[in-house]
């Protein structure tokens, strides 16, 4: 140690004191960090790959200028650069006496002497990835840098280069780094839809406001069609903000509007809200199969015997089975059938009561004018996206029934398409993302066994169908489904069980928990998994004017539009060639 400072030292100290990162800088004199310099923070002094690195801060590094969730870079000894995430900031001491007997009040001198020597700031840094020496490509970390390797704050360039750098075309800007607005964080949309993903967070943390523009990005970049089960009527035409504010839904974003189809389950509500649905979704009794009702076994509290009876009735009456069960059509053979199928009278009437409650839903009608669900499927396979508005229909039965009903048919269709494609006749089905709000209602461990969503999460990836789960109670989602989720976007959570659920199967979860705990209650999220090279904390992009602007004009060229219209009108390729 020397008390002599050469000029560069002096300048450095002065810069630090006047830096805008120093919260104590004299007001009015603080210098905005002109160009992002790599600021040295400290040196690695210990730790492990699993538990993270211990970094001792340099004396002139202000702990107040650091934040959990921001990145550091560490230059390895062999030209490899390590990237790490700050997971904890600690005040440490060589001699615990200094903490038990702090310098007396007013003794600045002693405090100044202790700081950086006897007591010091320390970081917990989780190594996230390593840049390949030759190509600069990110690689998973398998080792740690040596003792006393200097640690720097990562510059915007360094961070931006990592996120979606190699997929510039399909990169989606999901937000900014929490400690530097100028760092744009992008995720790779193709990877995002390739596996099921999830957006978690307490109610009111901004899940819907995050999901809507994200889905818009998916649609615009044509990485997938989307089917959105919109329980709260947020996605279609208007998104409800705080204080009665109305924001644009997908249909109002000009650039993608032609590709959005809104189907409503509650025409009256849609008319009242002026949400301009493309059609009202109706399902006729004859279009319903016993499997569709079986998925509601728990919700309707049907016994196993009653479920078996459903199948028996269907075998007997085929398409008319629900009409009979609902008492819509009288059948003289009924008593005989019941006896033959060993269905007790009591069972039948109990079942009837429960089913009638379901059939009271407005969109279920004895006879439907059209195969509306078939239309939805056609839109999806053509590349359009469909929003299913529930309107005032807020019963759980309705939600579970409709989403299972549609999704089962998607399942069948995609499996068939895929098999055809593999057999050489036809093309692979387009990637499809099914977004479900309040997903725990379908994916809780008991229900997931029966509903189609469990199956999709588990196996439909093979058929190009994935889920986007939007939910506030991750702990109530079947763990097997959770384990299939590739990308997890997590806003603030408070319940311990929910937090634990989000981190199941994540390495180094313990340290990331503290990052999650540091999130603001709104508009901040921890993203980890398949679509990002390393976990990252973002302030999600403000949804509003700036985003509208980006979607202002249709991105389609006249040629593209022509081709699209041809497709919408049902003309095939040859027709298009004739034009």
């Amino acid at each position: 140690m020397t008390n002599r400072m050469d000029d560069t030292d002096t300048i450095r100290v002065l810069d630090d004191i006047l830096s805008d990162r120093n919260p104590l800088a004299p007001p009015g004199q603080a210098r905005a960090s002109a160009q992002p310099v790599r600021r040295r923070l400290g040196v690695v002094v210990g730790g492990s790959l699993n538990d993270g690195l211990d970094v001792k801060l340099d004396r002139d590094t202000y702990t107040e200028g650091l934040a959990v969730g921001s990145y550091v870079t560490i230059d390895g000894q062999t030209d490899r650069k390590f990237f790490g995430l700050i997971t904890d900031i600690r005040l440490d001491a060589i001699d615990p006496n200094a903490q038990k007997m702090p310098p007396p009040a007013g003794n600045d001198l002693l405090a100044q002497v202790y700081r950086g020597t006897t007591v010091f700031g320390a970081l917990q840094v989780k190594p996230m990835l390593m840049l390949d020496r030759d190509t600069g490509d990110p690689r998973p970390v398998k080792t740690v840098p040596a003792h006393f390797t200097p640690v720097y704050s990562a510059t915007p360039e360094e961070v931006e280069a990592i996120f979606a750098a190699d997929n510039a075309g399909k990169a989606y800007e999901i937000g900014q780094s929490v400690d530097d607005d100028s760092i744009k964080i992008k995720i790779d949309l193709e990877r995002f839809v390739e596996r099921s993903s999830a957006i978690f967070g307490r109610s009111g943390t901004g899940k819907t406001f995050l999901a809507l523009p994200l889905l818009a990005g998916v649609i615009r970049n044509e990485v997938a069609s989307t089917l959105i089960f919109d329980m709260h009527n947020d996605y279609g035409y208007t998104l409800k903000g705080d204080k009665g504010k109305q924001l644009k839904g997908l249909k109002q974003l000009a650039a993608i509007a032609p590709r959005i189809v809104i189907a409503t389950l509650d025409e009256e509500s849609s008319r009242r809200r002026n949400s301009r649905p493309d059609f009202a979704l109706r399902i006729g009794y004859e279009q319903i199969e016993p499997e569709d009702i079986e998925t509601l076994q728990k919700t309707l509290s049907l016994s196993d015997v009653q479920v078996n009876a459903l199948f028996a009735l269907h075998r007997e009456y085929k398409k008319e089975w629900l009409h009979v069960l609902a008492g819509e059509s009288q059948d003289s053979r009924l008593d005989e059938v019941l006896e033959r199928s060993k269905i007790l009278d009591g069972t039948f009437s109990a079942m009837q009561r429960k089913i009638k409650k379901l059939l009271g839903l407005k969109f279920l009608q004895p006879y439907a004018a059209d195969d509306f669900v078939g239309r939805i499927l056609d839109h999806l396979t053509r590349g359009d996206s469909v929003v299913i508005e529930f309107g005032g229909t807020d019963s759980l039965e309705a939600y579970v029934f409709v989403s299972n009903y549609i999704t089962r048919r998607i399942h069948d269709r995609y499996v068939r398409l895929k098999e055809l494609a593999e057999g050489g006749s036809g093309t692979m089905p387009r990637q499809l993302v099914i977004a479900v709000e309040e997903a725990h209602k379908f994916l809780d461990p008991e229900v997931a066994q029966h509903t189609i969503f469990g199956t999709i999460a588990r196996e439909l990836r093979k058929y190009n169908v994935t889920l986007l789960i939007i939910d506030q109670r991750p702990s109530q989602i079947d763990s097997e489904v959770m384990s299939q989720i590739g990308t997890r976007i997590t806003c603030a959570l408070s319940d311990e069980r929910d937090i634990a659920a989000v981190f199941t199967g994540v390495s180094g979860a313990q340290q990331l928990r503290s990052v999650l705990a540091s999130l603001d209650s709104k508009q901040q999220a921890l993203i980890m998994g398949h679509a990002v090279p390393m976990p990252v904390v973002v302030r999600t992009r403000e949804y509003g004017q700036a985003v509208y602007q980006e979607y202002a004009s249709s991105a389609l060229s006249p040629d593209d539009r022509h081709a699209r219209n041809a497709k919408l009108l049902g003309r095939d390729e040859e027709d298009a060639l004739v034009r």
Binding site: N3, R4, D95, Y114
Partner: protein, 198 residues
Amino acid sequence: MIGRVIQANMRSFVFGTRVPESDVPVFGALVKTSIRHRQATLYGLIYDIAVNEDDDGMTRMLSVAEDAREEDIDWQRSRLIPLNVSVLCVGYQEQGGPIHRQFPPQPPIALSEIECCENDELIQFTEQLDHFQLVLDARDTSCDELLAASISQAAGARQAGLRRDFVVGCGRELARLLMGDALRIERIMRRIRWDERA
């Protein structure tokens, strides 16, 4: 010249001097002498000053005399009875070379001349603080007191405005050397005195 070496070893030496005037010699002061080896200058810190008895026992008698006269005391004091001043070696400098803050290669020989260091020399010597370790190792001296006294003097030698920074720097070096032993650091720091204005 304030005195000459009486005895010496590698770590320390003793020189004789007359009864002190006002501030020469004082505890903690930096003094210098020369050694034969490459005509190097040897630096040391005064860590003890001992008042000796005379051989004929006059001082002893005067100390208990009930009617000692002022003239007798003054006369006794004016006799050539040297003070023994002990000095801890803290560094040396070969001619034209850098200052090494470590033990010298040789001790000074008997009757080498001792001189006080002026402010600029004191500043130069304390630009680096590697000699702190030598002081801390000298357990037979009151090393904490010695460090505090020498830091106070080195701070005072500096321009007003630079003193506090110097003291903080010394404190940090101490903290490093003492492995953060908070109690001991605090004890030493409390003993350092300087005045930023003077």
